[in-house]
Protein backbone atom coordinates (compact mmCIF):
# COMPACT_ATOMS: atom_id res chain seq x y z
CA UNK A 1 0.00 0.00 0.00
CA UNK A 2 2.90 2.26 0.75
CA UNK A 3 4.05 1.77 -2.82
CA UNK A 4 0.81 3.09 -4.07
CA UNK A 5 1.02 6.35 -2.22
CA UNK A 6 4.56 6.88 -3.35
CA UNK A 7 3.31 7.03 -6.92
CA UNK A 8 2.06 10.54 -6.40
CA UNK A 9 -0.23 12.38 -4.11
CA UNK A 10 -3.87 12.37 -5.15
CA UNK A 11 -4.73 15.18 -7.43
CA UNK A 12 -1.12 16.23 -7.91
CA UNK A 13 1.16 15.88 -10.86
CA UNK A 14 2.97 12.63 -11.01
CA UNK A 15 6.68 12.61 -11.52
CA UNK A 16 8.67 10.74 -14.12
CA UNK A 17 9.56 8.26 -11.42
CA UNK A 18 5.90 7.78 -10.66
CA UNK A 19 5.25 7.08 -14.33
CA UNK A 20 7.95 4.42 -14.28
CA UNK A 21 6.47 2.87 -11.16
CA UNK A 22 3.04 2.90 -12.72
CA UNK A 23 4.48 1.20 -15.75
CA UNK A 24 6.07 -1.42 -13.60
CA UNK A 25 2.79 -2.08 -11.82
CA UNK A 26 1.03 -2.14 -15.18
CA UNK A 27 3.37 -4.87 -16.37
CA UNK A 28 2.50 -6.90 -13.30
CA UNK A 29 -1.18 -6.28 -13.90
CA UNK A 30 -0.72 -7.65 -17.38
CA UNK A 31 0.47 -10.86 -15.75
CA UNK A 32 -2.65 -10.94 -13.57
CA UNK A 33 -1.14 -9.54 -10.37
CA UNK A 34 -4.05 -8.21 -8.32
CA UNK A 35 -1.87 -6.63 -5.65
CA UNK A 36 -0.21 -4.49 -8.30
CA UNK A 37 -3.63 -3.45 -9.49
CA UNK A 38 -4.57 -2.47 -5.96
CA UNK A 39 -1.50 -0.29 -5.80
CA UNK A 40 -2.58 1.41 -9.00
CA UNK A 41 -6.05 1.83 -7.60
CA UNK A 42 -4.85 3.67 -4.52
CA UNK A 43 -2.52 5.79 -6.57
CA UNK A 44 -5.08 6.98 -9.09
CA UNK A 45 -8.51 6.67 -7.57
CA UNK A 46 -8.63 10.14 -6.05
CA UNK A 47 -7.66 12.05 -9.15
CA UNK A 48 -9.84 9.94 -11.40
CA UNK A 49 -12.74 10.44 -9.08
CA UNK A 50 -12.17 14.18 -9.02
CA UNK A 51 -11.98 14.17 -12.79
CA UNK A 52 -15.18 12.20 -13.16
CA UNK A 53 -17.01 14.22 -10.55
CA UNK A 54 -16.00 17.47 -12.19
CA UNK A 55 -17.22 16.21 -15.52
CA UNK A 56 -20.48 14.63 -14.56
CA UNK A 57 -21.47 16.52 -11.47
CA UNK A 58 -22.40 14.10 -8.73
CA UNK A 59 -20.57 11.71 -6.44
CA UNK A 60 -22.84 8.84 -7.38
CA UNK A 61 -22.15 9.19 -11.08
CA UNK A 62 -18.46 9.64 -10.39
CA UNK A 63 -18.42 6.42 -8.35
CA UNK A 64 -20.02 4.53 -11.21
CA UNK A 65 -17.60 5.96 -13.71
CA UNK A 66 -14.54 5.28 -11.58
CA UNK A 67 -15.64 1.72 -10.87
CA UNK A 68 -16.09 1.08 -14.58
CA UNK A 69 -12.72 2.65 -15.31
CA UNK A 70 -10.88 0.33 -12.97
CA UNK A 71 -12.81 -2.72 -14.09
CA UNK A 72 -11.92 -2.00 -17.69
CA UNK A 73 -8.34 -1.26 -16.79
CA UNK A 74 -8.09 -4.72 -15.25
CA UNK A 75 -9.97 -6.40 -18.07
CA UNK A 76 -7.82 -4.86 -20.79
CA UNK A 77 -4.65 -4.64 -18.71
CA UNK A 78 -2.76 -6.85 -21.12
CA UNK A 79 -3.41 -4.45 -23.96
CA UNK A 80 -1.52 -1.61 -22.37
CA UNK A 81 1.83 -1.12 -24.02
CA UNK A 82 4.23 -1.67 -21.18
CA UNK A 83 7.24 0.62 -21.46
CA UNK A 84 5.41 3.53 -22.97
CA UNK A 85 5.24 5.15 -19.52
CA UNK A 86 1.84 6.36 -20.41
CA UNK A 87 -0.27 4.46 -17.98
CA UNK A 88 -1.84 7.49 -16.35
CA UNK A 89 -2.92 8.90 -19.71
CA UNK A 90 -4.20 5.46 -20.64
CA UNK A 91 -6.38 5.43 -17.51
CA UNK A 92 -7.63 8.93 -18.23
CA UNK A 93 -8.49 7.80 -21.72
CA UNK A 94 -10.68 5.06 -20.29
CA UNK A 95 -12.23 7.60 -17.93
CA UNK A 96 -12.98 9.94 -20.81
CA UNK A 97 -14.76 7.18 -22.67
CA UNK A 98 -16.74 6.30 -19.59
CA UNK A 99 -17.76 9.92 -19.08
CA UNK A 100 -18.89 10.14 -22.69
CA UNK A 101 -20.92 6.99 -22.27
CA UNK A 102 -22.40 8.52 -19.15
CA UNK A 103 -23.45 11.63 -21.05
CA UNK A 104 -24.93 9.56 -23.84
CA UNK A 105 -27.02 7.69 -21.32
CA UNK A 106 -28.07 10.97 -19.72
CA UNK A 107 -29.02 12.39 -23.09
CA UNK A 108 -31.11 9.32 -23.87
CA UNK A 109 -32.83 9.59 -20.51
CA UNK A 110 -33.26 13.35 -20.90
CA UNK A 111 -31.87 14.06 -17.46
CA UNK A 112 -29.02 16.44 -17.99
CA UNK A 113 -28.08 18.32 -14.84
CA UNK A 114 -28.38 22.07 -14.83
CA UNK A 115 -25.36 22.68 -12.74
CA UNK A 116 -22.27 21.00 -11.44
CA UNK A 117 -22.03 19.99 -7.89
CA UNK A 118 -18.46 21.06 -7.50
CA UNK A 119 -16.81 21.05 -4.16
CA UNK A 120 -18.33 23.29 -1.61
CA UNK A 121 -15.96 25.62 0.14
CA UNK A 122 -15.70 25.99 3.83
CA UNK A 123 -15.37 29.71 3.38
CA UNK A 124 -18.07 31.69 5.02
CA UNK A 125 -17.58 34.95 3.12
CA UNK A 126 -20.75 35.60 1.20
CA UNK A 127 -19.07 37.45 -1.69
CA UNK A 128 -16.59 34.68 -2.28
CA UNK A 129 -19.32 32.12 -2.06
CA UNK A 130 -21.37 33.97 -4.63
CA UNK A 131 -18.38 34.20 -6.93
CA UNK A 132 -17.80 30.49 -6.63
CA UNK A 133 -21.40 29.78 -7.43
CA UNK A 134 -21.15 31.91 -10.54
CA UNK A 135 -17.99 30.13 -11.47
CA UNK A 136 -19.63 26.73 -11.11
CA UNK A 137 -22.43 27.88 -13.36
CA UNK A 138 -19.97 29.26 -15.85
CA UNK A 139 -18.03 26.01 -15.91
CA UNK A 140 -21.24 24.22 -16.74
CA UNK A 141 -21.69 26.47 -19.75
CA UNK A 142 -18.23 25.81 -21.18
CA UNK A 143 -17.84 23.54 -24.15
CA UNK A 144 -17.00 19.94 -23.19
CA UNK A 145 -13.41 20.35 -24.37
CA UNK A 146 -12.92 23.60 -22.50
CA UNK A 147 -14.43 22.12 -19.38
CA UNK A 148 -12.23 19.08 -19.60
CA UNK A 149 -9.13 21.21 -19.94
CA UNK A 150 -10.12 23.29 -16.92
CA UNK A 151 -10.82 20.20 -14.87
CA UNK A 152 -7.62 18.45 -15.82
CA UNK A 153 -5.54 21.56 -15.39
CA UNK A 154 -6.93 23.01 -12.17
CA UNK A 155 -8.54 20.08 -10.41
CA UNK A 156 -6.21 17.30 -11.48
CA UNK A 157 -3.09 19.44 -11.84
CA UNK A 158 -2.06 17.88 -15.13
CA UNK A 159 0.46 19.60 -17.38
CA UNK A 160 -0.49 20.84 -20.81
CA UNK A 161 1.46 18.01 -22.36
CA UNK A 162 -0.35 15.43 -20.27
CA UNK A 163 -3.71 16.98 -21.03
CA UNK A 164 -2.84 16.93 -24.71
CA UNK A 165 -1.97 13.26 -24.44
CA UNK A 166 -5.19 12.49 -22.61
CA UNK A 167 -7.40 14.46 -24.96
CA UNK A 168 -5.52 13.54 -28.11
CA UNK A 169 -4.73 17.14 -28.96
CA UNK A 170 -1.61 19.17 -29.38
CA UNK A 171 -0.22 21.14 -26.51
CA UNK A 172 -0.88 24.40 -28.32
CA UNK A 173 -4.52 23.50 -28.74
CA UNK A 174 -4.77 22.76 -25.05
CA UNK A 175 -3.29 26.14 -24.19
CA UNK A 176 -5.73 27.84 -26.54
CA UNK A 177 -8.66 25.95 -25.05
CA UNK A 178 -7.54 26.86 -21.57
CA UNK A 179 -7.15 30.51 -22.46
CA UNK A 180 -10.59 30.74 -24.04
CA UNK A 181 -12.18 28.92 -21.13
CA UNK A 182 -10.53 31.16 -18.55
CA UNK A 183 -11.54 34.27 -20.44
CA UNK A 184 -15.11 33.07 -20.51
CA UNK A 185 -15.07 32.21 -16.84
CA UNK A 186 -13.58 35.56 -15.93
CA UNK A 187 -16.20 37.35 -17.95
CA UNK A 188 -18.93 35.38 -16.26
CA UNK A 189 -17.61 36.12 -12.79
CA UNK A 190 -17.09 39.85 -13.46
CA UNK A 191 -20.38 40.38 -15.27
CA UNK A 192 -22.29 39.02 -12.35
CA UNK A 193 -20.35 41.10 -9.85
CA UNK A 194 -22.42 43.84 -8.18
Amino acid sequence: MQDAWSLGAPGRSGTAGAAEHLDEFASRVARGDRSAFEAIYFALVDELHAYARSQCGTDVDADDIVANVFLRAWQYGRRYRVGSQNYRAWMYGIARNEIRNHWRRQLRMGSLPDNYDLAESSSSEPDTERARARLRAAIARLTPDQREVIVLRYFNNRSHAEIGMIMGKREGSIRALQHRALRQLQKAVRDAAP
Binding site: P10, G11, A30, G32, R34, F37, E38, Y41, F42, V45, D46, H49, A50, R53, S54, D63, V66, A67, F70, L71, W74, Q75, Y76, G77, R78, R79, R81, L118, A119, S121, S123, T128, A131, R132, L135, R136, I150, Y154, F155, H160, R175, Q178, H179, L182, R183, L185, Q186, V189, R190
Partner: protein, 397 residues
Amino acid sequence: MLRLRPDHTFEFQLVETLLAQLEPGPLTESHRAALHARIFSRIGAQEPPLPRPGGLPRLRPAWIAIPAGVGIAAAIVAATHYGGLTGGADDAQSGHSVAQGSVLIDGVRGSDLRPGQTLLTVSPTWLAFGAAVRIGLEPGARIRNESDGAHIQLRILTGHVTVAAQGGGVTLIGEGWSAVVASGSAGTVTVTEAQTVIQAMEGNIVVQSNGRSHTLMANSPALVVPAPATQPVSGGAGATGDPAGATLPAGNVINPGVTPAAAPRALANAEAADENPSDVPTPVPSGQPAATPASEGGTARGASASSGNGQLEQPGLQPTPAVAGGSSRASGSQRPASAGTPATGAGASGAAAAGGNANPASPATDPPANNAGTNHGPSPAAGSPSSEGGTGRQTKR
Protein backbone atom coordinates in the same frame (compact mmCIF):
# COMPACT_ATOMS: atom_id res chain seq x y z
CA MET B 1 -4.60 43.47 -17.57
CA LEU B 2 -3.58 39.94 -18.29
CA ARG B 3 -0.06 38.94 -17.42
CA LEU B 4 1.88 36.40 -19.34
CA ARG B 5 3.42 33.63 -17.31
CA PRO B 6 6.77 32.05 -18.08
CA ASP B 7 4.93 29.09 -19.57
CA HIS B 8 3.25 31.47 -22.04
CA THR B 9 -0.18 31.26 -20.49
CA PHE B 10 -2.05 34.32 -19.36
CA GLU B 11 -2.74 34.81 -15.76
CA PHE B 12 -6.40 35.01 -14.77
CA GLN B 13 -5.81 35.67 -11.12
CA LEU B 14 -9.36 35.92 -9.88
CA VAL B 15 -10.68 32.93 -11.78
CA GLU B 16 -7.72 30.80 -10.93
CA THR B 17 -8.03 31.60 -7.27
CA LEU B 18 -11.66 30.61 -7.34
CA LEU B 19 -10.88 27.46 -9.30
CA ALA B 20 -8.34 26.48 -6.69
CA GLN B 21 -11.03 26.81 -4.05
CA LEU B 22 -13.36 24.65 -6.10
CA GLU B 23 -10.81 21.88 -6.45
CA PRO B 24 -12.33 18.72 -5.02
CA GLY B 25 -10.44 17.24 -2.13
CA PRO B 26 -9.31 13.65 -1.82
CA LEU B 27 -11.80 10.91 -1.15
CA THR B 28 -12.47 9.97 2.42
CA GLU B 29 -11.05 6.67 3.63
CA SER B 30 -14.46 5.11 3.85
CA HIS B 31 -15.40 6.29 0.40
CA ARG B 32 -12.19 4.94 -1.01
CA ALA B 33 -12.64 1.61 0.76
CA ALA B 34 -16.22 1.28 -0.40
CA LEU B 35 -15.19 1.94 -3.97
CA HIS B 36 -12.34 -0.52 -3.59
CA ALA B 37 -14.67 -3.23 -2.36
CA ARG B 38 -17.09 -2.54 -5.18
CA ILE B 39 -14.41 -2.77 -7.84
CA PHE B 40 -12.42 -5.70 -6.56
CA SER B 41 -15.48 -7.77 -5.90
CA ARG B 42 -16.35 -7.57 -9.57
CA ILE B 43 -12.94 -8.13 -11.09
CA GLY B 44 -13.02 -10.95 -13.58
CA ALA B 45 -10.86 -12.47 -16.25
CA GLN B 46 -8.48 -10.42 -18.35
CA GLU B 47 -8.77 -10.09 -22.09
CA PRO B 48 -5.89 -11.44 -24.12
CA PRO B 49 -3.52 -8.88 -25.63
CA LEU B 50 -4.17 -7.74 -29.14
CA PRO B 51 -2.23 -9.83 -31.64
CA ARG B 52 0.43 -8.01 -33.56
CA PRO B 53 0.57 -8.95 -37.21
CA GLY B 54 3.62 -10.95 -38.18
CA GLY B 55 5.62 -9.91 -35.18
CA LEU B 56 6.26 -6.57 -36.79
CA PRO B 57 7.01 -3.69 -34.51
CA ARG B 58 4.17 -1.32 -33.97
CA LEU B 59 4.77 1.73 -36.08
CA ARG B 60 3.00 4.98 -36.28
CA PRO B 61 1.15 5.45 -39.57
CA ALA B 62 3.43 8.31 -40.53
CA TRP B 63 6.47 6.09 -40.17
CA ILE B 64 4.95 3.70 -42.62
CA ALA B 65 3.52 6.25 -45.01
CA ILE B 66 6.71 8.23 -45.47
CA PRO B 67 8.97 5.33 -46.52
CA ALA B 68 6.20 3.97 -48.67
CA GLY B 69 5.86 7.32 -50.36
CA VAL B 70 9.58 7.61 -50.85
CA GLY B 71 9.70 4.10 -52.24
CA ILE B 72 6.96 4.77 -54.73
CA ALA B 73 8.58 8.02 -55.79
CA ALA B 74 11.93 6.29 -56.20
CA ALA B 75 10.32 3.57 -58.29
CA ILE B 76 8.71 6.16 -60.55
CA VAL B 77 11.94 8.11 -60.93
CA ALA B 78 13.93 4.96 -61.57
CA ALA B 79 11.45 3.72 -64.14
CA THR B 80 11.50 7.07 -65.90
CA HIS B 81 15.26 7.35 -65.73
CA TYR B 82 16.13 3.87 -66.86
CA GLY B 83 13.30 3.74 -69.30
CA GLY B 84 14.69 6.81 -70.95
CA LEU B 85 18.26 5.68 -70.87
CA THR B 86 17.85 2.11 -71.91
CA GLY B 87 16.85 2.12 -75.47
CA GLY B 88 16.60 -1.02 -77.52
CA ALA B 89 19.33 -2.42 -79.67
CA ASP B 90 17.53 -0.87 -82.59
CA ASP B 91 18.39 2.56 -81.31
CA ALA B 92 22.08 1.92 -81.68
CA GLN B 93 21.58 0.45 -85.10
CA SER B 94 19.46 3.28 -86.35
CA GLY B 95 21.70 5.98 -84.91
CA HIS B 96 18.84 7.28 -82.85
CA SER B 97 19.65 8.31 -79.32
CA VAL B 98 17.87 9.56 -76.27
CA ALA B 99 19.27 12.42 -74.24
CA GLN B 100 18.92 12.64 -70.50
CA GLY B 101 19.40 16.25 -69.63
CA SER B 102 18.48 19.66 -70.88
CA VAL B 103 19.44 19.87 -74.54
CA LEU B 104 18.59 21.77 -77.67
CA ILE B 105 18.25 19.67 -80.77
CA ASP B 106 18.49 21.81 -83.85
CA GLY B 107 17.67 24.73 -81.64
CA VAL B 108 14.59 23.16 -80.11
CA ARG B 109 14.25 21.56 -76.72
CA GLY B 110 13.93 17.84 -77.04
CA SER B 111 15.47 14.54 -76.13
CA ASP B 112 15.54 12.42 -79.28
CA LEU B 113 18.62 12.93 -81.37
CA ARG B 114 18.33 11.51 -84.86
CA PRO B 115 20.88 11.32 -87.67
CA GLY B 116 21.54 14.68 -89.22
CA GLN B 117 20.56 16.63 -86.14
CA THR B 118 22.79 18.82 -84.01
CA LEU B 119 22.62 18.75 -80.26
CA LEU B 120 23.66 21.51 -77.86
CA THR B 121 23.70 20.70 -74.18
CA VAL B 122 22.40 23.14 -71.63
CA SER B 123 22.98 20.96 -68.61
CA PRO B 124 25.11 17.88 -68.03
CA THR B 125 23.67 15.35 -70.40
CA TRP B 126 23.87 11.68 -71.01
CA LEU B 127 23.20 10.41 -74.47
CA ALA B 128 22.34 6.77 -75.01
CA PHE B 129 22.49 4.89 -78.28
CA GLY B 130 20.61 1.88 -77.12
CA ALA B 131 22.49 -0.02 -74.49
CA ALA B 132 25.64 -0.09 -76.59
CA VAL B 133 27.00 3.42 -76.48
CA ARG B 134 26.81 6.21 -73.95
CA ILE B 135 27.98 9.73 -74.54
CA GLY B 136 28.45 12.15 -71.69
CA LEU B 137 28.26 15.80 -72.55
CA GLU B 138 29.05 18.79 -70.46
CA PRO B 139 27.05 21.97 -70.71
CA GLY B 140 27.93 23.83 -73.87
CA ALA B 141 29.02 20.76 -75.76
CA ARG B 142 27.76 20.60 -79.32
CA ILE B 143 27.73 17.49 -81.45
CA ARG B 144 26.12 16.41 -84.68
CA ASN B 145 24.79 12.95 -85.19
CA GLU B 146 26.14 11.72 -88.50
CA SER B 147 25.27 8.11 -87.97
CA ASP B 148 24.09 5.94 -90.77
CA GLY B 149 22.00 2.86 -90.39
CA ALA B 150 24.96 0.63 -89.59
CA HIS B 151 27.40 2.74 -87.66
CA ILE B 152 27.34 5.39 -85.00
CA GLN B 153 29.23 8.46 -86.02
CA LEU B 154 29.33 11.75 -84.19
CA ARG B 155 30.92 15.02 -85.12
CA ILE B 156 32.23 16.81 -82.07
CA LEU B 157 31.86 20.50 -82.77
CA THR B 158 32.83 21.85 -79.40
CA GLY B 159 32.91 21.07 -75.74
CA HIS B 160 33.88 18.20 -73.50
CA VAL B 161 32.57 14.80 -74.42
CA THR B 162 33.04 11.44 -72.81
CA VAL B 163 32.40 8.36 -74.87
CA ALA B 164 31.86 4.87 -73.59
CA ALA B 165 31.22 2.05 -76.00
CA GLN B 166 30.21 -1.42 -75.01
CA GLY B 167 28.26 -3.12 -77.71
CA GLY B 168 29.92 -1.55 -80.71
CA GLY B 169 32.37 1.03 -81.90
CA VAL B 170 31.79 4.71 -82.29
CA THR B 171 33.38 7.02 -84.76
CA LEU B 172 34.11 10.54 -83.68
CA ILE B 173 34.96 13.23 -86.13
CA GLY B 174 36.45 16.65 -85.60
CA GLU B 175 38.38 19.31 -87.45
CA GLY B 176 41.42 17.56 -88.85
CA TRP B 177 40.96 14.30 -87.00
CA SER B 178 38.75 11.31 -86.62
CA ALA B 179 38.74 8.67 -83.93
CA VAL B 180 37.28 5.24 -83.57
CA VAL B 181 36.35 4.22 -80.08
CA ALA B 182 36.45 0.46 -80.06
CA SER B 183 33.92 -1.68 -78.32
CA GLY B 184 34.72 -1.94 -74.65
CA SER B 185 36.53 1.37 -74.64
CA ALA B 186 36.00 4.75 -73.13
CA GLY B 187 37.62 8.09 -73.59
CA THR B 188 37.21 11.81 -73.56
CA VAL B 189 37.40 14.41 -76.24
CA THR B 190 37.68 18.10 -75.54
CA VAL B 191 37.26 20.40 -78.47
CA THR B 192 38.11 24.06 -78.18
CA GLU B 193 38.73 26.67 -80.78
CA ALA B 194 42.45 26.10 -80.55
CA GLN B 195 42.76 22.36 -80.26
CA THR B 196 41.30 19.00 -79.63
CA VAL B 197 42.44 16.86 -76.73
CA ILE B 198 41.73 13.17 -76.95
CA GLN B 199 42.38 10.71 -74.19
CA ALA B 200 41.61 7.07 -73.78
CA MET B 201 40.43 5.86 -70.43
CA GLU B 202 39.62 2.28 -71.15
CA GLY B 203 40.34 0.08 -74.11
CA ASN B 204 41.74 1.82 -77.11
CA ILE B 205 40.94 4.66 -79.38
CA VAL B 206 42.41 4.87 -82.83
CA VAL B 207 42.90 8.45 -83.93
CA GLN B 208 43.49 9.44 -87.52
CA SER B 209 45.11 12.78 -88.00
CA ASN B 210 47.26 14.21 -90.69
CA GLY B 211 47.32 10.93 -92.49
CA ARG B 212 48.65 9.07 -89.51
CA SER B 213 47.07 6.62 -87.22
CA HIS B 214 47.63 6.70 -83.49
CA THR B 215 46.33 4.20 -81.04
CA LEU B 216 45.59 5.64 -77.66
CA MET B 217 45.29 3.37 -74.70
CA ALA B 218 44.48 4.04 -71.14
CA ASN B 219 48.09 4.56 -70.24
CA SER B 220 48.80 6.72 -73.23
CA PRO B 221 49.27 10.44 -72.85
CA ALA B 222 46.56 12.63 -74.15
CA LEU B 223 46.67 13.48 -77.77
CA VAL B 224 46.43 17.14 -78.68
CA VAL B 225 45.40 18.04 -82.17
CA PRO B 226 45.60 21.76 -82.88
CA ALA B 227 42.82 23.19 -84.91
CA PRO B 228 43.85 23.56 -88.56
CA ALA B 229 43.38 27.29 -88.58
CA THR B 230 45.47 27.95 -85.51
CA GLN B 231 49.16 28.49 -85.28
CA PRO B 232 51.05 25.25 -84.84
CA VAL B 233 52.18 24.55 -81.35
CA SER B 234 55.87 24.28 -81.28
CA GLY B 235 56.08 22.38 -78.10
CA GLY B 236 56.89 24.90 -75.44
CA ALA B 237 54.74 24.82 -72.42
CA GLY B 238 52.18 27.51 -72.61
CA ALA B 239 53.07 28.31 -76.18
CA THR B 240 49.50 28.89 -77.10
CA GLY B 241 48.61 30.47 -73.87
CA ASP B 242 46.14 27.71 -73.33
CA PRO B 243 46.38 26.06 -69.98
CA ALA B 244 45.92 22.69 -71.52
CA GLY B 245 48.66 23.24 -73.95
CA ALA B 246 50.78 24.65 -71.26
CA THR B 247 50.78 21.48 -69.31
CA LEU B 248 51.21 19.05 -72.09
CA PRO B 249 54.64 18.26 -73.32
CA ALA B 250 55.47 19.21 -76.81
CA GLY B 251 55.61 15.63 -77.76
CA ASN B 252 51.93 15.18 -77.20
CA VAL B 253 50.95 17.70 -79.77
CA ILE B 254 50.22 16.69 -83.26
CA ASN B 255 50.48 19.47 -85.70
CA PRO B 256 48.71 18.68 -88.88
CA GLY B 257 51.07 20.92 -90.72
CA VAL B 258 54.19 19.30 -89.37
CA THR B 259 55.74 16.15 -90.64
CA PRO B 260 55.30 12.98 -88.71
CA ALA B 261 58.96 13.07 -87.90
CA ALA B 262 58.23 15.83 -85.51
CA ALA B 263 55.60 13.79 -83.77
CA PRO B 264 55.62 14.10 -80.08
CA ARG B 265 57.56 12.00 -77.73
CA ALA B 266 54.59 10.95 -75.76
CA LEU B 267 52.82 9.93 -78.88
CA ALA B 268 55.78 7.83 -79.79
CA ASN B 269 55.52 6.31 -76.40
CA ALA B 270 51.92 5.58 -77.01
CA GLU B 271 52.70 3.90 -80.25
CA ALA B 272 55.51 2.01 -78.67
CA ALA B 273 53.10 0.85 -76.09
CA ASP B 274 51.01 -0.65 -78.85
CA GLU B 275 53.88 -2.82 -79.84
CA ASN B 276 54.69 -3.87 -76.34
CA PRO B 277 53.50 -7.43 -75.83
CA SER B 278 52.96 -6.71 -72.20
CA ASP B 279 50.28 -4.32 -73.20
CA VAL B 280 48.29 -6.89 -75.04
CA PRO B 281 44.88 -6.88 -73.49
CA THR B 282 44.36 -9.75 -71.19
CA PRO B 283 41.27 -10.64 -69.31
CA VAL B 284 40.99 -9.20 -65.88
CA PRO B 285 40.08 -11.75 -63.29
CA SER B 286 36.73 -11.32 -61.80
CA GLY B 287 36.84 -8.97 -58.95
CA GLN B 288 39.94 -7.25 -60.11
CA PRO B 289 39.26 -3.64 -60.52
CA ALA B 290 39.45 -2.03 -63.85
CA ALA B 291 40.71 1.40 -64.41
CA THR B 292 38.20 4.06 -64.07
CA PRO B 293 37.52 7.01 -66.19
CA ALA B 294 38.64 10.16 -64.66
CA SER B 295 36.35 13.00 -64.28
CA GLU B 296 36.96 16.61 -64.72
CA GLY B 297 38.23 18.07 -61.58
CA GLY B 298 38.17 14.77 -59.85
CA THR B 299 39.98 11.51 -59.71
CA ALA B 300 38.79 8.03 -60.20
CA ARG B 301 40.48 5.52 -58.03
CA GLY B 302 40.54 1.82 -58.50
CA ALA B 303 41.87 -0.43 -55.85
CA SER B 304 44.33 -2.17 -58.07
CA ALA B 305 43.91 -0.11 -61.10
CA SER B 306 46.75 2.15 -60.36
CA SER B 307 50.28 1.32 -59.65
CA GLY B 308 51.19 4.85 -58.80
CA ASN B 309 48.94 6.93 -56.76
CA GLY B 310 45.90 5.40 -58.27
CA GLN B 311 44.76 8.50 -59.97
CA LEU B 312 43.86 9.20 -63.48
CA GLU B 313 44.54 12.74 -64.31
CA GLN B 314 42.71 14.40 -67.05
CA PRO B 315 45.13 16.27 -69.23
CA GLY B 316 44.25 19.52 -70.70
CA LEU B 317 41.75 20.18 -68.02
CA GLN B 318 43.84 19.49 -65.00
CA PRO B 319 47.25 20.75 -65.76
CA THR B 320 49.63 18.57 -63.87
CA PRO B 321 53.05 17.40 -64.81
CA ALA B 322 52.03 13.92 -63.98
CA VAL B 323 49.95 13.81 -67.07
CA ALA B 324 52.83 14.40 -69.30
CA GLY B 325 55.10 12.07 -67.54
CA GLY B 326 52.47 9.51 -67.13
CA SER B 327 53.98 8.49 -63.86
CA SER B 328 50.77 8.78 -62.04
CA ARG B 329 48.64 7.06 -64.53
CA ALA B 330 46.72 4.06 -63.59
CA SER B 331 48.68 1.03 -64.48
CA GLY B 332 45.57 -1.02 -64.30
CA SER B 333 44.68 0.48 -67.56
CA GLN B 334 47.44 -1.48 -69.18
CA ARG B 335 44.83 -4.03 -69.81
CA PRO B 336 42.03 -1.88 -70.70
CA ALA B 337 40.23 -3.80 -73.27
CA SER B 338 40.42 -6.85 -71.20
CA ALA B 339 38.91 -5.12 -68.37
CA GLY B 340 36.21 -5.04 -70.71
CA THR B 341 35.00 -2.24 -69.00
CA PRO B 342 32.36 -1.93 -71.03
CA ALA B 343 31.58 0.72 -71.32
CA THR B 344 28.53 2.20 -71.14
CA GLY B 345 28.70 3.26 -67.97
CA ALA B 346 31.61 1.85 -67.87
CA GLY B 347 34.59 2.40 -66.23
CA ALA B 348 33.43 4.14 -63.21
CA SER B 349 30.92 1.64 -62.16
CA GLY B 350 33.12 -1.22 -63.12
CA ALA B 351 35.80 0.08 -60.92
CA ALA B 352 33.41 0.88 -58.22
CA ALA B 353 32.13 -2.60 -58.45
CA ALA B 354 35.42 -4.28 -58.26
CA GLY B 355 37.42 -1.86 -56.27
CA GLY B 356 34.56 -0.57 -54.35
CA ASN B 357 36.07 2.80 -53.93
CA ALA B 358 35.36 4.63 -57.10
CA ASN B 359 35.22 8.24 -56.44
CA PRO B 360 33.36 10.03 -59.15
CA ALA B 361 33.33 13.70 -59.30
CA SER B 362 30.42 15.84 -58.50
CA PRO B 363 27.51 15.76 -60.90
CA ALA B 364 27.81 19.39 -61.65
CA THR B 365 31.22 19.07 -63.10
CA ASP B 366 31.32 15.67 -64.55
CA PRO B 367 28.27 14.25 -66.13
CA PRO B 368 30.08 11.39 -67.78
CA ALA B 369 31.46 10.12 -64.53
CA ASN B 370 28.08 10.33 -63.00
CA ASN B 371 26.55 8.58 -65.83
CA ALA B 372 29.23 6.08 -65.71
CA GLY B 373 28.05 5.49 -62.26
CA THR B 374 24.71 4.40 -63.56
CA ASN B 375 25.96 1.41 -65.37
CA HIS B 376 23.07 -0.56 -66.63
CA GLY B 377 24.84 -3.31 -68.36
CA PRO B 378 26.72 -6.05 -66.66
CA SER B 379 30.34 -5.24 -66.20
CA PRO B 380 32.71 -8.00 -67.17
CA ALA B 381 35.24 -6.65 -64.77
CA ALA B 382 32.73 -6.48 -62.09
CA GLY B 383 32.14 -10.15 -62.20
CA SER B 384 29.08 -10.27 -60.08
CA PRO B 385 25.80 -8.52 -60.01
CA SER B 386 26.46 -7.38 -56.53
CA SER B 387 29.32 -5.41 -57.82
CA GLU B 388 26.93 -2.97 -59.27
CA GLY B 389 26.29 -1.83 -55.84
CA GLY B 390 29.80 -0.59 -55.47
CA THR B 391 30.26 2.49 -53.46
CA GLY B 392 30.98 5.88 -54.74
CA ARG B 393 28.51 5.80 -57.53
CA GLN B 394 26.32 8.67 -58.25
CA THR B 395 23.28 8.78 -60.40
CA LYS B 396 22.65 11.60 -62.70
CA ARG B 397 19.11 12.70 -63.10
